[in-house]
Structure formats: C-alpha cells, structure tokens
Symmetry: C3
Subunit: 681 residues, 3 copies
C-alpha cells in the first residue's frame, strides 16, 4: 500500500480520447497542456475497446494515448475500465445484469449494468484488471490506479439470485443463528419469523412495507458488496504493481442523495480518498450553491479523517443529467474549484477535459467546449490552471476545523424507511441545515463518524443521528465535562444499531446528557412553522418539520417554548450545564435565520476566549467564504467572495500566493478569491 503523495496540485480530469479520430488527439493534448493540465484520468469506460471479444485484446490505442500524455508531462490516473462491461459480455452473460426491485432485468445499452455479486462479472473484471496492471505497471506516466468508477451509481442494488445468495451469506456472518436475526429484526411481528436463512430474500417490492431492519441490513450488505469489488480489484493491482497508489471515486454530497455506500467504512480501502461532486439546481434563498460545495468537501474531508483528499470530478460548467442544467456564469469556475481546494483537496479534476460530440454525455461541459479553445470558458480554465499551480506550496496542509458534526449512513438509511413518523424531509436535511447555519456562523465543520476520536473539537453537533451506540451519550458527556459544547437535535439517539427504539423516553441515548425526556414525536407538515420564544418572549426561531412532547429535568434550563399550536408551552430549546461545558437539545429544525443566530450564540461560547473569530461577522452578513489550511506554523487563509459586493477583510498580515502581493489589509472584490499565507495562530 502506497499513499498518494503529490508534488503539485493535481489539475486535470477525464480524457476519453477513444471518442475522437486518433489524428485529433495530439491537438487535444496540446490544448490541455496550454490549460496547465497535469493529470488525466484515462480508460474509465474502455472495456469494449480493450477487450473487443472474449479472447481479443487491444491496448495499442491506450499505449498511444498514454505516450502522448507523457510527452507533455501529464500524469495518468489509469482506470481499470471495469465500470461498464462490453455488449458482448452482457449478452453472453445476461445473469450478470442488474435486476430491479420489481424483478426487471435491465437491458444493455447504458452503463454499469452489472450485479455486484455476480461471480462471472467479478472474474471477467479481474482478468481485465490484471491485464492492464501487467501492461502498464512500469509506464512512466502512471501515477495512480483507479478501480471501476462511481461504484453503485446505477447498480447499488440488484435483486437477482446471486445477490440473494450473497445476502444470505452476509446475514449468516452477521447473526450466526436465525433466532438472532429474528430477534434483531423484530420478526415476530407481522408473522415474519424465519425458520432458516434460506427463507430470507432481498427486500424487493412487496405488498406493503418491508421490515425496517431487514431493509437496513440490505443497505449494509449492498454497500459491502460494492466495496468488495473495489477491494478485489485493488488486490490484483497491489499484487502486480505494489508501488502505485489505488483509489476509487466516492460520491459524497451531491444533491439530496444519501447514497448507498457507507464511505466511512470504505475510506480505509483507498490510498487517498477521492470524491466526485456536482451542484444540483439553482441558488435559493434558503441555500446557496457554494454551500453545496462546502457540504460535500467538509463531508469528504471528514471521511478522509481530516487528511488532504482528491477531487476526482467536478463540472467545468453545466451537467447533462438534471431536468434543467445550470451553466456557470463567467468567473464562477475559479471560485468553485478554489472552494474545494480551500476545504482540503489537493487535486482539482474535472469531468471532462474535452467535450464529447455524441453519446449520452455530449452536453456535459468540459475544459475544451464544443466551441473549441477560442472560447471564454477555455480561457478561464487556462487562467485557473495557472493559479492552481501556485497552490503547490500548500500541498499537505490540513484544514483548521474546531467543530465536528456527527453523521452516519446507517442512520440516514434507517430514516428513509417509509414507516418513520415523518417522511417530509430527507435524512441529511437536519445535518445540512445545521451545516449551513454553522458555516454562516463562521465555523469550519468536519463531518465525522460517531465512533471517531472527537477529542480535538470544542463543539460537537449531533444532527438527526437516529441510530447510535449506547455509549455515545457518555462519551459526549465526558467531553462536555471538560468544556466542550454539544448540540443535539431531534431524531438523534432514538434507536440502536438494529433500529430498536430505546424505551423510557426519547432521545434514549442522550436523555441523561441532555436532561430531557420526550414522550411523543409530533411532526409538522410541510410549510407549517411554529414560533419558539424565550421566557422573556423573544422569538428565537421558527420551528419546522418536527416538534416533541418533552419534559425537562429540574436542573435543565428551558431556553425556549412553543408559542402556539397544539404543543404550545412545550420546550423548544433546552440547555444543561455539564461540568465546564453545555449540552443543548433542539427538538425541531429551525428556519435558516433562527438557526444561524443559534449557531452564532453557541459558537461564541465554544471559541477559546483567546481567539475570537475575526471573520465571523463578515461571513454571517455577506456571501464571503473563509477557510484556513495549516501546516507547520503556516496558515493559508482562503477567502472567496461569492457575492456581488466588494468587501474588506479583517486585518491579516501576509502574502496572497495567487497574486504574489503582500499586505496587512485586503480588499476582496465581488467574485474574487484570495489565498493569503500568514503565520498560524
């Protein structure tokens, strides 16, 4: 195993030369070089060319493409090409194709149509991986291997017989006896007790709801089954080419999708955490597009344990898969790329480098658009390539975050079950609302797994962490005793890992920490809000989506109560003093302004008194984003102005490594970006 250790910020992305006549390749590579592209991912969907038939192989075109890249010192991330098997394979082995939740076997003609538990697919894909590894192990352009592509993007679930068999094996490993499975699933209800593992099926569509724990275990299994494909490919690569790092691209944080992979479990399997991210939709009054990037980047960094990570795909401009695809206006590309780098990426790669002229992604934007290099978009990319190169000195620095937010795919999956008290919001919506509030309040947030070591954080947020271990409450209580501030929201700590509800009052795992006891959940329908007011009558926030019937212990402060509606007078915000810290309980989801005010108020207390955040006011009142990366006494302050108003930054002695200019005070024009090197405080 060899970690990825870059000496320049990777800048580039997907190049699929096989789409064009070979005569055009050289000009394309020349254009990429002109844009300072220093890395190309090649071969993601090339299986049908590399292996045109069961016993035919053709690497010549790839040899040529890699040679052209190497001539220009462009590194290659070589994909294993296993993402989509060739038509001949899918036709010869129809049993390898994905079967959906209603028993329909997907037709060929698209991509990623293979079952993660298919033995014949596994075997054929590993043969290909070995061939590629053997051929290119010593290629001078080869910088990293990339298994498959966006594992599970379209084949996260398969309901075929191979999957069913593999699921049963997985369940037997987990539960050993069928009695323990029945117990974990609560199978005695609805006459679901199984007499043997052989009776269990994947939770395909049934007459009504499937058992929630059955579905949750199925999600866990599906994630593991995909991970197994990556690990199997990686093992071949390490066997043949032990000195080359291996990664695969995660899909953390795009849109409202929770996704089907538990990347906290996956992170250890890669030599660098790589991620793809795309903004979805348009700016709204509630959420700004750059907040989507912050969410994705902070989440990816958390999955990477805080280490620098690799942005494998983002869009030069519009994509092609939304209903109406937004195009980046002039100047936005630079801010978009810089925000991922600010938040810990040491690589900024695009899908794609040269825009296709046919096929399903021809309207996905590229560094070289349909219009060619004589275009505003290409000129912006060239300027960006120059600037990215100047960030080389920051490689390896890590993002300074004093706030942790605890998130977990298993909780999110459990919350998706249609029998929850409310399906009126998406599983990560609470975390996202909290992330936006905290970010606007000036915090930089790491999204961490509840089992991670949290001791370095002064402020921990637990946003709708529905499933958790019993001991988490104790761990957080211990942190609070030492001065940490803990904010827990509704829908946290309710159930254990089998989705069994903790009795005696909500939120079971955190009742002692918070000093409250919930008797009933009371979801609100979409669009309805209720005012939370302080004892003095001040409106603190507008509650949305959720309320609770709640009792506060004697020593717990009730900071707000509901003003009207069916639950008027019930607590709407509580705080318990714990040692030198505090624990808040928030039994609702506040409106953005109310949440911001709450986050600012808690955060002010969470900062060590020696270091009030000089940027907090600026960030809370403008569209300016500020993030710090640090390494050995040096701090890089990334300041990005996403708004249309020029601002002045707080006093900051240093040098802008993008412009080379030194100063103690900085203007940041509307739309502009600065990366100011200063000494770490």
């Amino acid at each position: 195993m060899t970690r990825w250790a870059p000496d320049r910020v990777a800048f580039g992305g997907d190049w699929n030369p096989e789409q064009w006549p070979v005569e055009e390749w050289e000009a394309q590579v020349r254009a990429l070089d002109q844009a300072k592209v220093n890395l190309a991912r090649v071969g993601v969907f090339s299986w049908s060319l590399l292996q045109p038939g069961p016993d035919e192989w053709d690497f010549a075109w790839l040899d040529h493409a890699m040679a052209l890249l190497h001539e220009r010192r462009i590194d290659v991330v070589l994909a294993t090409s296993t993402a989509s098997p060739p038509p001949w394979f899918s036709r010869m082995h129809p049993e390898s194709r994905v079967i959906d939740e209603r028993g329909y076997r997907h037709e060929i003609g698209s991509r990623q149509n293979w079952c993660p538990s298919s033995p014949v697919f596994r075997q054929a894909s590993l043969t290909l991986v070995r061939r590629l590894a053997e051929r290119y192990v010593d290629h001078p352009a080869l910088r990293m291997w990339h298994t498959n592509n966006e594992l599970g993007c379209h084949n996260a679930e398969c309901f075929c017989e191979h999957s069913a068999t593999a699921f049963r094996v997985w369940l037997r490993d987990r539960y050993r006896t069928i009695a323990r499975l029945n117990e974990a699933w609560g199978a005695r209800f609805w006459s679901q007790s199984y007499a043997s593992f052989d009776e269990v099926a994947p939770p395909a569509v049934s007459t009504t709801f499937s058992n929630p724990t059955h579905v949750l275990d199925w999600r866990r299994f599906c994630s593991d089954a995909l991970l197994a494909q990556h690990v199997a490919e990686r093992e071949v690569l390490r066997d043949v080419a032990p000195g080359i790092p291996v990664t695969t691209n995660f899909m953390i944080g795009t849109g409202n999708s929770v996704g089907r992979s538990d990347y906290f479990r996956w992170a250890a399997s890669v030599d660098v955490v790589a991620n793809d991210h795309y903004e979805v939709g348009w700016d709204s009054s509630e959420a700004r597009l750059h907040e989507q990037r912050a969410w994705s980047a902070d989440f990816t960094r958390g999955v990477a344990g805080g280490a620098p990570w690799f942005l494998m795909e983002h869009a030069p401009s519009g994509v092609n898969w939304q209903t109406v695809n937004r195009t980046r206006p002039p100047g936005e590309l630079r801010r978009a790329t810089m925000s991922y780098l600010a938040r810990g990426a040491d690589a900024a790669c695009f899908f794609q480098l040269v825009q296709s002229t046919s096929g399903a992604e021809k309207y996905h934007s590229a560094i070289v658009p349909h219009a060619g290099t004589d275009s505003r978009a290409f000129r912006e990319a060239c300027a960006l390539g120059e600037e990215v190169a100047r960030l080389a000195e920051a490689i390896g620095s890590t993002v300074h975050a004093d706030t942790a937010m605890l998130v977990d795919w298993e909780s999110a999956w459990a919350l998706q079950h249609p029998t929850m008290p409310s399906n009126g919001f998406e599983p990560f919506d609470i975390a996202k609302a909290a992330h936006r509030a905290l970010t606007r309040a000036g915090a930089t947030v790491d999204m961490r797994h509840p089992r991670d070591d949290l001791s370095s954080y002064r402020f921990v947020v637990v946003p709708g962490l529905y499933l958790c271990d019993d001991e988490l409450g104790d761990r957080l209580e211990a942190m609070a005793r030492k001065g940490a501030r803990i904010l827990v929201t509704c829908l946290s700590g309710i159930a254990d890992a089998t989705d069994r509800v903790r009795g005696g009052g909500y939120p079971g795992a955190f009742r002692r920490l918070l000093g409250v006891r919930g008797e009933a959940f009371a979801p609100l329908p979409a669009g309805r809000t209720v005012a939370a007011v302080s004892p003095e009558g001040a409106g603190l926030y507008q509650g949305r989506f959720w309320q609770e019937e709640l009792t506060a212990d004697a020593e717990t402060e009730v900071l707000a109560r509901w003003n009207d509606g069916a639950w008027a007078g019930q607590p709407a915000l509580t705080r318990r003093s714990v040692g030198s810290g505090f624990a808040w309980y928030l039994p609702s989801i506040p409106d953005p302004d109310g949440f911001l005010a709450l986050a600012r108020s808690i955060r002010r207390g969470a900062e060590p008194s020696s270091a009030p955040d000089p940027f907090a006011d600026l960030v809370a009142t403008t569209d300016v984003e500020v993030v710090r990366r640090r390494t050995g006494g040096v701090e890089y302050v990334f300041a990005l102005n996403h708004g249309d108003i020029d601002v002045t930054l707080p006093a900051l002695e240093g040098r802008d490594i993008l412009t080379g200019q030194s100063a103690a005070s900085w203007k940041l024009r509307a739309g502009d970006v600065r990366v100011i090197r200063t000494s770490s405080s």
Copy 2:
C-alpha cells in the same frame, strides 16, 4: 350463529405479546388493567409462531398470554392468525403470493402476501383456523373470533392464474352464456367480443383503457373472493365453536380510499359489524378531522343496518403510514373515542395497546407508548377507560338519524374508471361534501344502500349514485308523495348495473322524479367555480367540478341558474313538488358554505313541524358535534366540543353520565365532552 351481545363497552385493542420477552408480559397486562382495558385482540399476525414449520405447532405462548389476560378479566378477541402466512409457507408455495397488475409477484418480507383465490392458501389457513378453534373453544377468556385481518388491505387484487380461473367461474355464474357477457360489457366495441369464457382475463394493465364493465365485474369478483375467505374461516369456527360470535374488521371511511370490498354485501356474514378507522392528514378549512370520524362512523352504522357496531381499531395518537403522521394533542383522544361511541359503536378498541420497539409499526402510537406508563398519553388513556366504563348503560341504544344518504361501492367503482367525463374528484367526494353539509346543518345521517328499506327517513340524499336499479326513482317518488324530501345530485341514476347509460336524457333513473332532462355533462376543471344565483339574483352557492346542460320540465321550479361561463342561464338547482314532498336536483358540487345553506334550508322543511332541531344553530356555527342515541324512552345526547370556544347548550334537562351531575342547562367547555341522559322525545 351468535350475535355479539356485550355487557360492558369494549375498551382495549391489539396486544401482540410475542414481540416482547415473556418476562415483560405480566407488567404489560397490569398496565392495561390500570387503563380499564377489558378486551384484547390477540394473534392477528402470529401464524409463523403458531406453526413454525409445515408440521410443527406451538400454542404454549398463546395459552400463557390468554391466561394472563383472563386473570385480569380482560376478554379476548382471538384472531385466526391467517392474515399473514409464515415465510416458510410463502417460499414453499410461491404461487400463493400476490401478482400485481403488471405481472410482478410480490416478494416475501411484508404482510398479507396471499392470493384470495389460492387453493393452497385456503387449505393451509383453514387447517390453522381449525387447530385454533379446537384448542380455545372452551377458553374462558374467549369472547369473539376474528377471522384474518383487514381483508384485502394489501391483497385486494391478484392477477395470477388462480385468480383468472376463479374470475371465469364467477363470470360464468353471473352470465351463464358468453353472449350475455358480451352484451353486458358492450364488448362489440373495440373488437372485444369473446368467443368463450376461457378467453377472458383479469383486467391487468393493457395498452390503454380496459372495458369499464369488465373492470366493474372484476371489482365485484375481488370483493366476493375476499369475502369467501372470511366465510370459509367462519364456517370452520361455527363448526367447532358454534356459541362464539365471529367478526372481521372492515375498513370503511379512511381517507379518500373507496376500498375494494362491498361491505353492504359483507355485513350479513359477521355476527357484529366491526370497523377500523384512521384519520388522514390535518384539519383544513374545507374539512375538519372530526368530520372524517363522523363520515366513517355513519357509514359503518349504515352498513350495520343501524345496529350497534364494533370499533375494532382506531389510533391512540399518530400512525406510521402517512407521509407526515399527525400526533393527537392533549385531550383529543377522549373526543375521538367518544365520537365513535356517540355514533353507534359499543366498542372502542385501539391499534395498539403497547407500542412496538421494532418492526414496521414501531412508530404507530399505543396506549402504552415508548415512554412507558409515566406519560401524559397513558394517563389520558386511563381517564378515558374510566369514562368509557360509565357508558355501559347506553349499550344497545341506537343512533337517532332522520336522514339517509344512499351510497354504494359498485357506483363508486364505476366512477373510478378513467373514461368518465371527469376524474377530477374522487368517487365519494360528492357524498362526503353532502355529509359534511348535512352534519353541519345538524342532521345525523345514515349511509344506506339503495335497496335498503328507507321508509323511516324524512330526508333522503342521493349523492353521485351513478349506478342504480330502474325502480329506485319510483320508490323515492312514492316516499316524496308521502312527504319525504329527496335531494339528488349530479352523476346519479345515469347507468344500470352493467354500467350501460340510460338513453333519452340524464339522469335516466330520476328524470321523472326530478322533472328535469340533462342533455350534456360539462365538468369543470379543478379550481374553477361558477356562481349559482336565484331568480332574484341572490348567490346560492359556488358550483365546482360539474355542470350540466339541462332542461327543467314546465312544472319544475328552477331555484337557481348559472350566472356566467359557458353554461350561463342553465339551471343550477331545481325543485319539483311531489305530493306532500319535494325533489331537488343539484347538477353540481357546491362550495362548503353554499352546501351548508342548502342543507339547512332543505332540512328545516324536512323536520316534522313539532320538532325543530334545537341544536342546529349551535352546530352550524361552532365546532360542536351533537348526536343522540336512544333506547326505550331514554335518550343520550352526546355533545362534543372540538373547538376552542366554550359554549352553552340549549335547554336540556338530564344527567351527564360522565360526571354524574344533573342539570337543565349545560356549559360545554372548549374541548370537553358531555353525555346527557334525558328522556326521548
């Protein structure tokens, strides 16, 4: 056959002890006893425990559970456990599972996944029923048998080969010759003439619309196929245990669902009509939640022919199957339960008694919630149990209703066909709008089948009764001659039982009764309204969803005409004087206020002059609900204040049997309930 004859108001509901360790059972029963629970339904989904394998049986746990209940004098309604077969059965007999309208066979892992026409399921279920009957026939706690559960809730239709065969047998029984089927269905159109019954299939999804009469007969068949399962189970029970009444829970009136069972046909098959009802959604300006309860209860009572009925399930608080599940605020449980009792129930049972901690219904509320007995919800249940017990003296009394509304599942099913002039509203929407208007006008309404004896009613409403027999018009005319008032709305009397339109003008069956002739239907799109104004120019109502091109006979009064739009000047309300009665035709669906005014005006006339309704003004202008139950010279006036304003009831000499207080004049506080015993007028 033995009718259910209670000596106390049944109060209790579902207890599924098998979900918890046996050590917890006794404490649970103790808590139920504390809440005055006197009846538990047991064994609804226990097949997989009772018969863990093809030749294994285990009744010990059930023996124990029943013994515990009996110790506390809690009666048992013993379910036959046939609602959901065990996994081993469904896997051994995949042909017993439900196939949907696109040929998909539902996977196991949920509930009620069995075809009503499956021979192997029928046989296995009856074996289980016989075993249970033989074991518990003499058990002292056994009060009633309950076949299956919510028959057809998730398996109302199955498109498998067994269903197809049974459907053909059913059709042959109905039509005898294929020529008569072709004639009834109008099969000559679209080249659908069948040469033999063997060619007919269930109306699974086809290229476009299926034949409407084909679909209607399918609905009739599906209802009969489900009923046959109940009857088969009942016959076994009566055979083994002839002295024990048998019922099964109907599902009348929940949400907008018309349902798939013709409960008017089913009613004779049970020893007491039992029903499950759940409110759906939230209060709105158009409909208040307690009106959903009134609708369901009045409909159930009508199905029961006016006799007392059994509320088998209602929710202590929220349910778990809506998108956002509403929680009952403090005090509502009492009003909810009391309103069913007011409207003729002699039993008030809940799903469920103790809240599950795992499985698909763990977020369905219970008498003992997750928080345990130390909770506001449990304390309310205890208080309610006390009060319900005080209603014992009213057992067997019947609801006083002088208004009948004619409804019919066959009509509703026919209206659901997508080729109707408008699918912009649901089949029972007209009846519901009329029911709300009448209820607000102070009436208590029995929903009756058109073939029922209607002679006791002074006022008969025919709301969108699309299919009916030819003779119904004559029967209503005869009633009118004797002084009854008849209100017929649009979409009534159009077609015969084969859905063949009566020619010569709408509404065929009622043209003579009403003295009108419709030439064309003219549906209105959602959201569009047209004003109906009197000859004097007064606005009577806003018409919605429907208009007609209509001619009134010379002797028919036109009380309103459309004020504008394409059909301005056409009649919007007519009245024909018939003997000492009247017949109104309402060719639209009025807005709530307009409908209320119309209902009040007609109703004032319908009351015998000696007895003007003293509550009418109160009910029309507040959220107070008033219903009377009578028995042998005694009247129980149930008065429920669902609003937040205290009111004073009209003079009423009597005793409040809830409080024991006697008076001649009563305050009814916001949220409060009174049940005043007085002498019957």
Copy 3:
C-alpha cells in the same frame, strides 16, 4: 393508385352499428341523413365480429349496414378492421401482444394490442383485408379504404423479440457494417461498442440513460414498422380494388404529444392525407383552444404538401380520455369544424356519429348524443351539415400561406432525450410559440419539412430544428439573398442526422447564415424570465427557458441584449443583412406578447410592399381568425370570431357563401363565421 377526389365536402364520421340492436340501425341512419351526413367510416373495430373464430367469417351484418347507408346516399369509408384483433387471436398468439419498456406483456381486454413487427399478426391482418376487399370491391357505397386506425396510438413501441429482430434488420440496412453503427452512435463512449448487430437490443429500460442515437434510430425504426403495416394493407387493397383510394388517419397536433410517427415520411403512402385532431384542456392566457386547431391543421396541410386534406376525426363536443373533459358550449362546434375547413380540409368527420351507451368510449360525444335527436347538440349538427354542404364550391382550393415553419419529427425525438441541456419544455414548444405569434400577427403558416421546396415563401421560421443537414443553412442563405426573411431560434442546426454536435460554435449549421457564434447554452429554469432590451433601452421581450453565451460577427446587428442575470449583456436578438433579405437569430423563447411584437415587425417587412395585410391589426387585437383559400382567381376568406365582441371586417367585396348575402363591408358578430367569396388578389 387513385387520389381522393370529392364532389362534396365530406361530412360525417364513425358509425359503429354493431353496438346496437339491428332494429335501431335504420332510425340512426335516418337521423344521420337529417344532419346531412354524407359519409360514414365503418368497421374500425369489427374484427371480432367479422371473424369470430380462426375459420369463421360473418359479413352479413356489414352488408346490411352498408346497404342502409347506401340507401341514403351516405358514402362509406371502409376500415380494414385490423386495428384490434379479436380476443381469440390474442390468446392463441400471445407473442403478438405488445411488450413494454420493462418487459411487461400487455393483457388483452383493451385495443391495439399487437406488435407492429409480429409476423403472425401481419399474416392474419392481411387475410382479413383481402377478404374485405374481395367482398366489397364493387359495393356502390364504397368511397375509400381506410387501413387500420391511428397506427401506433397505443402500440407505437414494442420491445418483444420480433421487434428486436426487425430492429436489427433495419439497422443493418441503414449502416451495413457494425463499425459504421458504432461510429454513428458514438458507441465508444461508455463502453458501448458492439461487435455485431446481434448484440444490439431495443432501448428498453436500462440502469440509466440509453445512447441518444440508439434511441433516435429506434424511433425511426418504430415509425417505419408501423408504416409497413399500412403499406402492406394498402398493397392488398390496391391489388384487389385498384380504383379505390386508400388512406389511414394520422394523429398530428393533439396536445403536447410529439407522436411516434414521422408523417412527412408517411404522406406519400396515402391517397389523401387524413388526420384526427382533438383539443386538449382549456383556454389559457397563453394559448387559446382555437390555436390548437390552427396548429394541427397547418401542420397537417404542410404534411400534405399544401393539398386539401381529410379531417377524419374531431370531437362533436367533449372526449372521454382527458382527466377532466371539456364540453363544447353552444355555437363552438360550428366554429371548430369551420376552422379545419378554412385551413385546407375538404372533409369534416367526427368521432362519433351516435353515442355509445357502453364500453370505454360511451362518454365520448357524438352527433346523436345520449339524449337523442331532441337536443341542442343534434340541432346544431344539423345546421352545420347544411352549411358545410354550401362549401362544396370551394373543394380543391388551397390555402394561401406565405410563411413556412420548418419542423421535423426526428429533431423532436432527439430533443426528448433526457440528457439534453434542458428538459424543461416539450420539443414542439418553440414551434408552437412561434406559430401562435405568427398566427396572431396575421400570418397563415405552412409547417414544412426542411427538405421541401421552400421557394414560394417570403418568410421562413426555423424553430428549434435541432437536427438538420449541413446544406440547409446554404439553402436559406440563398433564399435570403433573394429577399426572404429567415428567423432562426435557439436549438436549431446543432446536430447532424446522427445527433452528432457540430463543433466550433453553435448553431453549427446556421452560424454563417446568422453571423453569430454560440459558446455555451444556458437554460433557464421554469418560471424564470430575463428581459431582452434594445440598445436604446426598450424592452423587446421576456426570455424564457433558454439563453446563450453568444458572439455576434462584426457585420451582424445586435437588436437586443439581456438586461440582467448571469448573462447580462449577451445578445438576445441579432439580425444579419443577407442580400435583399435578413436573417434573425433568437437565442431564447419569448413571452407571448414579445413574440407577437417580434413576429409582426418581421412580417411587416416580409410582405411584398404591394400587399400589406388588411387583417393584421384585427387579428392581433381580437379573437378573430382569418384564413384564405384560393382556386383559379377566386378567394374564399374564412373569418371566424372566437371572441365575445362583435367586429367589423376590413373592406371586402364579395358574397358570403354561407348566407348567400353580398356586400362590400361585413359585420362579424361574436361567435359567428363568414366565408366570403371574392376575387383572388
């Protein structure tokens, strides 16, 4: 081949006597005669009666029906009855039934459930056609053959193995080698390269997007497969009965449906172009219902190459297949029928003549409604029959249109692919918006295929013509040089016939003609608008759905730029002077008023100076529709007032052939129609 050459305007429609007892037929025919019906289409869905079993035939009832019609001089359009096979056939040959995109085989019991590529269906249907042809070849009532019915209405696509085989044959014919298919489809992307034609499947549902060119070729194949059924039937008919014209009913212009048939390819296969058209929905502020008729009629006429065409179906009043079906108010039927005749139809036929009382279309309106002949609707039909007869002298005259709009099914199909930059509007929405604007501006528009001869037009509009040949730009440039005015909108000329994007800037095929170069598309989400303002600051229109990043060549005038938003300052309307003509580029879809103003301004320039349009102001400011038909020096001015305000027409010397009245100046009352014969200018 024999063209249809009428001597009277065909007036009539579908009569399906088999639905009623034979005793009622004569009275029905008498009523039709009373309404001046002179043509009946018979036998559309009669296969199950004509051939009740594999070896049984029964023509007696049809002999009788045709004899009754002939007695009253009612011509017969005899359908081949192949639209829906009998149940016995579909059950004997399940492989002939349609399989949907998820592999589901449609159940029998509806209509048109046959695969266009089914050999057994083809054979059985041609046997029937031959039997019919042989029997009725010499029948004196027979006026025209009608193959099948609305080919593809419910079976446009079938994913069965017969279809797959036929698709592969079609592809082999088109591409010869698999390498050329791979090249055309861009199959190297996503690993889709095929090794042989045998690997290609119909684009049934797959894991995600199918290849766009694959889908486009599938649409072409499906259209051809349906056409092949018509041609095969026609060949039998021509063989047996060479002197009788043959047609089939197209479905052009109903609702938002693009449809699945490329009728420009189909037009040559019929002896007269026949069309079915139905209005969908209600009038709105954006689009009036009569504009739907104008769109359909102008499109049908364009498909017919400008020749008179046959309106095979329109609705006497409401239909039965929309969610809420609108009923025609009094007087509308006359205007509806007249507008098709105005726009080039020489036949006005209805579905249906006598309203069914059972089956799936019993609520579809008819000339004789359920209420019978004593009805306002029937009396209107009789009056209309009288008037239609007076139009006989205009038979064969052609519509005067000086504007062409280029439309194309292949472009529309390509635009439907979900990977386009925006799926926020329907493919023909741009053309429809342009058609409405032009029509309101007083133009009469022919919808023509891009390869048609366009030399007679002074004004050519290219609205979202996404795919086109390279040479179209040159042809239009040549026209402009000679004085024509060319208006090109966004999404035109982007790709070639294989959906390969033209590089170097948008809109590839028209860049030189227009003198612009687009660098990026920038779709707008629904509901968002941006103002286009002139250099002088005047607001020209509100742009919707689409913007572009665009550069105008030096000699190209920028008539408007975006006022705000991300693309402020980019061109929003350009004009290039070309010889004595002009070429406009419109990179957005204007709001209705803005588009009308633009259309009027361009059109004023397009008219030869000698003939300004005297009706333009009237048409633009009222709901009056004016169309001219011409023949040999005579012009018929059809003026229809769809509004509720009386108007005066511009000076027009002539005779109203409906009333016989002569004048030089005409009032046109609200709701009225005039057809004024004058001399052609």
